[in-house]
Symmetry: C7
Subunit: 280 residues, 7 copies
């Protein structure tokens, strides 16, 4: 038995040494890499004090280091065990099951990064754009990282959305924007006159020095878009500089209100026709 | 032990050399291929300045290169390790788990490309068509790539939808379009007269020089499609040139309104029958 | 070392030659097969000009060819590498991960084809039928392929639905169709008289030369189907030739309206009982 | 080299012959089996003309045959390649990926058949029953196969539902059915009198020769089931022969209406109490 | 070659014989087991005539037998092929893919049985209980098997729900039940008096000989649970014998109505305050 | 051949014996363990009679025993077959497929237990707490096991929810609870006065001997939380002992009602402004 | 046979000893590690008495220990069995299936931890922030662990949400917050005057000593944001210190109410135009 040990030592000692050295090297390399990544990932703008930031970094570094260290040395031990001729099948099956659970759990993180990659190269939106995600959450983009998109809405609320959850992204401020206004007017209104009033208001806005640099095409009457329950719905469209569509539409509403009042065009309240009979 | 090393060198040196050369070749080839793909994928129309574009390309190229380089050399090292007789089972199991997570995370990207492929060969829509996706988002197609469809709607908003999210696509401007208008008229209306009025309005529109090239079949009264709560609903249908259905329907509404007013056909407000009794 | 190369050449050269020849043969065969499939799949009716069609075919052929070519030669290289005794485990694991991602991404395409197969052999619908899919999208079937169903609705909109998305398909024009009409009449109405009126209208329609070939069973009063808020709801049923149910029901509504007016049967507006008291 | 070929031929020729013969046998057997299955699966009742049916069968047979033939001979070639000592690992990995995609795509078909199996042995419904599926689609069962359930509703529409999509099935005509009628009566109504009226109507219906064979238990007043907004809701229950519940309930509504009118029981319209004050 | 066959026969003939005998034994055993299982599973109460039942059993037995027989003999052939030295890898890969598809398709059936097991040992409900499943389908439990739960509702409709679809089960008749009644009373009502009336009605019901064995705790006024739009909502609670809660609540409503009428407590109709002004 | 059998017997007989003994041991051990587990799992409180309980236990024990016994002896037979040199690959593949289906079907059971584990160690709720699950089902916790949570609601209904279905759990009685009451008051109300009244009512309740031990912070006027359609909505908040929030809020409503009546604060009915015009 | 046992003992005894020692070591190490983890995970703040806490810890420790112990010794036995030359394939396949089920069941737990990791390093929210999760549950953050987020809402209810269920997190108190108030005013209102009033109220609030430290930008009139059914909707925006937005908005509502009353600006009730006609 003794000779076989010696024999074994001769043929396997170098390889075991190589494994140990490789593991040690990888260990150190991983430590440094992780530190770098954490330093880059944690953005100081997210912390109130430098101490907060340092504490967070330290905790994270030590957590991740422990995990990586465990993985590297478990692999090294398994490799050495095979050198000694152990059948590590059962051990690997056990590890595999843990690994599959981890892999499945991590897949949405991977999907976040891949989706984030396409958001960036396809240029869906940039910091400062006003966007809406999945027809649900909207706001100004505060930050786009590979993993998530951060929005801040009109209420000042900050939304964190993982990129893989983004099915449809809607950018409201890409190059230009449109005025698209539906207004209900009384069924008695003279359409020709209405069209003239709306177009005049649109024109006057475009020639107004305060608004002309925000409007690319003057808002104008497009068509009767619906016969509503209590009003005829007309559609008014125009083209504006990006980010200015809400201000232009707001001003347009104000000017239309004044013009309508002057010309007797009514924005009607809900209508009911009552047929009164005595109780049966 | 020394002899075994020499022996080993003899039989394995060529193969190790082949592995190293193959890896180096693949490395260079991948670098060039990636540069090309990125240059093609990033479309200058998406960037404001040339500097923006260059910066983006540079960042992306270096990111992807690092990833590819890591993959190639890790594979090369594993191949060489097997030449030296190491059991790389545990290492591969670890890599496999990472790989599965990546593979699962990437599957929606793959689905995007496959779906995009069918959108293109089955010719679902082209740039310029007005479409609606999943009965939810609609707009004019701005761009169809293998990975996503980009729409711009009437508000000027730009929607990015990954192709794999597209379940039902609805093309509103394929070859031709229809007028399909439901209008509520008072229950007291004479149906025969109404039918005559509607058909006359439809005919007059088709013979109008301004509209005749947009109308393929004059809008006409089809049937009473419902007995509504406060009105009888009639359906009017016609056929138009693609993209012109909204303008034609808008004009038709205007002309019908005028004809109805002239002939005493009422579009009724909501009706209520009131039976008043004194408080019990 | 030199001898071993010669030795190797002797034993392996034939097999390597076989691999190369097999790959070349498969390559050529695939090229031809792909061309055929693309020529069959791309339907000229989908393109405006012949040039458009040719361009599309060319692009597609070259894309698919590149993919197939890559797959065939990578497999050939792997086979040759095993002949040279390389352990290609790591390479195959890498390829496997890519393959799994592709396979997962492709599974919905496979499901499309399998579902399409059953739609065809179980004869769910044919071109020209009016169908509704998943209680959501409806229209006339324009095309049924193994991968998708294409509908055109009354607005002239073209819907593309992948077959695997079809959970419930509803064929409205299979062999025959029914009139199934719910009408609200005043609570004061005499039910016996109403039943007589409805049945007379139904009978008269079936004996009318214009309608008799569209009606299989005359519409008749079935029962009081509900006590509604403001009206008693009655159900009228009949049987018609497929595709004619809407026209028959529309005409039936018109005739019932006239008969009701003549006989004093009221289709009541929404009713309210008001109990007025002075402000507390 | 030549000798080795001879040597090879000796040891392997029988096995290769066995493989080829086995494949040929399986090929022919599959051809016949498929023809049989297709002949049984395609039901002539689904086709208008015999020519249609034949054409469909021919197309299907040739499609499936091509697929089966490809699978059998690819497997045979792989088996022969292993006889010649090729490492077919890479080829099988490629095939495996295609196979997995196919397998995943096919799993809903498999689920259809398994679910269909349980629908049949647990006797959920039979042809002619009126059922509702997933609280969504209802109709008379026209066909139950292992793969799908086909319903026809009152509008004459034919619904195809794959069995695996059936979560809850509701059979409305299993052995017997119930009358379950909620009617709103005025708050002023005398409950004792109402109970008497309802029970009398129920009794009289059961003793009516036209209805007695359809009613198992006479409909009777059960309880005040709710204090509604404008009416007290009472519940009336009874037991009928399966399929007759709608007719019985319809007749019951008619008789109750007459009895209520005679006895001054009111089915009230929506009530509002109005407190009028002069504008502030 | 001839000798090798003899040699082969010597070493392998016993094993092949064992395989064949094992398969035959398993075959017979499975046949008997299946017959037993089918006889137990198909419950005669589900069939109208004995002939129906026999036919169903026969069809099922032969279907399942064919499937089992195919599986056993394919496995036997594969085992024998390995005895003859064939590499059955490709064949098994093919079988594996079919198997995976079957396994995936069958997983919901397995989940049914496991869930059914827990429903039984955790005693969620028993035949005769009134339950509601997933807040959606409710009725009296007619049958609980390992695979499904069968309910019959007040309309006489029979619901089949696979156990794995049951997320939340709600048993309304476990040991005891509660009266939990919300009634709206006029804002003008004197709360103290109301409380006294409600409690008196509750007490009188518990001391009523007809009801005392159904009531465990007399219904009593709990609190004002909401300020509604037109009424103050009060909550009344009590405890009853299981299955009797609906009858008790119905009777309680009747008695409260009488007591309220006698004491001038009003259950108000919807209220509106009207501020009338002349048209602007 | 005879010698080889003897030879075989020598080398393998011990191992086969070990396998058989191991299987027998495991068999007995499992029998005992299962009995114990079933005795612990089935809680006598769930059964009406002891006989019911015994019957259930007996059925379950025999079912599970049969399953376990089958698994153990099939594994033993496979182990012995490998000792005899059979290639059990095909058999194991078959078993694997069944196993995967079982494993997939069982995963929700596993998820139940893991989730239950976290519910217990993170102390989400305990028996007696009033909780709401997934914003859907609420009630008093009757039982929390590793597999499910059992609630009983105010109607006396018992809800069984598997732990893995619990996404959000809401504990309404953790340490303390809040009064959080929104009341609509007339727009004419004097806010300062209202604030004083509300705070006085809150104070008086806290100093009331009946209520002081239930209230931790007196309810007080917080702010105008909304301008409603017909009323100004004010928010009143306070802090109470857990489980007492509903009683306190109910009493608070009663006292506020009295105080409002005394001070002329109106809880307004829905308001409408009517502009009457003569029919057009 | 005896010699072979001795022979076996020589070569394998060391390895078996190593396995046993390794298992024993791991066993002890795991026991200690688990105790530590449980002591850290269970937070005493969650328990009412120290005895409760100890009991829970003890139960958990023993449960987890039993599980870990079973896993370690089963692995050890399998390793030793391979030393004795048993083919443990079948046993491992069995274990693998159990393992896969466990792994799948555990994946949502893993996803919890990974998501929790990103919530912490990306600093989505901290204890004390007011957040909303998935646009569904909102409250003050009480605890953020790697596995779950615990919120307490205004009703005092405690919500437990596993981190992996968090799709969109909305932080309402990140750095600052906004006033974002939509108010409906009568259509007759003079917009210029209204704008002046709103801005004056906003200014006066910012200069009020009680409120100036809570307001970063005075609330001001932004635009007419909609033409509502009964009112013109105006938008008022401002910027406040985080956590103070609700108080500031409440106070702003109060001040606006007073200013509106003083200046005759009306917040209108729902409007209706009534056209009365005599019954037809």
């Amino acid at each position: 038995m003794f000779e076989s040990v010696i024999e074994f030592a001769k043929t396997h000692s170098i390889r075991i040494a190589v494994i140990l050295i490789g593991a040690a090297f990888l260990h150190n390399f991983a430590m440094i890499a992780i530190k770098k990544v954490i330093n880059r990932t944690i953005r100081s703008e997210n912390f109130k004090t430098e101490r907060d930031e340092k504490l967070r970094k330290k905790t994270l570094t030590s957590t991740v280091n422990t995990a990586i260290r465990a993985v590297i040395w478990v692999l090294a031990i398994l490799l050495i065990m095979t050198e000694f001729g152990f059948n590590i099948g059962p051990l690997m099956a056990g590890a595999g099951i843990v690994g599959v659970a981890l892999g499945f759990g991590a897949q949405s993180i991977v999907a976040d990064f891949l989706k984030g990659f396409f958001i960036l190269i396809e240029n869906h939106y940039r910091v400062g754009d006003v966007i809406k995600i999945n027809n649900d959450v909207s706001g100004t983009v505060e930050r786009v990282t590979l993993r998530e998109t951060v929005l801040r809405d009109l209420d000042g609320r900050v939304h964190h959305i993982p990129n893989s959850e983004i099915k449809t992204s809607t950018n409201m401020t890409m190059e230009f924007a449109n005025v698209n206004l539906d207004i209900g007017v009384a069924y008695e209104t003279d359409i020709e006159m209405l069209e003239k009033i709306v177009n005049e208001v649109g024109q006057s806005m475009q020639t107004d020095s305060e608004w002309e640099d925000k409007i690319l095409e003057a808002p104008k009457f497009l068509r009767i878009s619906d016969f509503g329950e209590s009003a005829m719905i007309i559609k008014i469209v125009g083209k504006t500089v990006a980010m200015k569509q809400w201000a232009v539409t707001g001003e347009l509403r104000k000017r239309l209100k004044i013009a309508f009042d002057k010309n007797g065009v009514e924005i009607p309240y809900p209508q009911r026709v009552i047929r009164q009979i005595s109780k049966k």
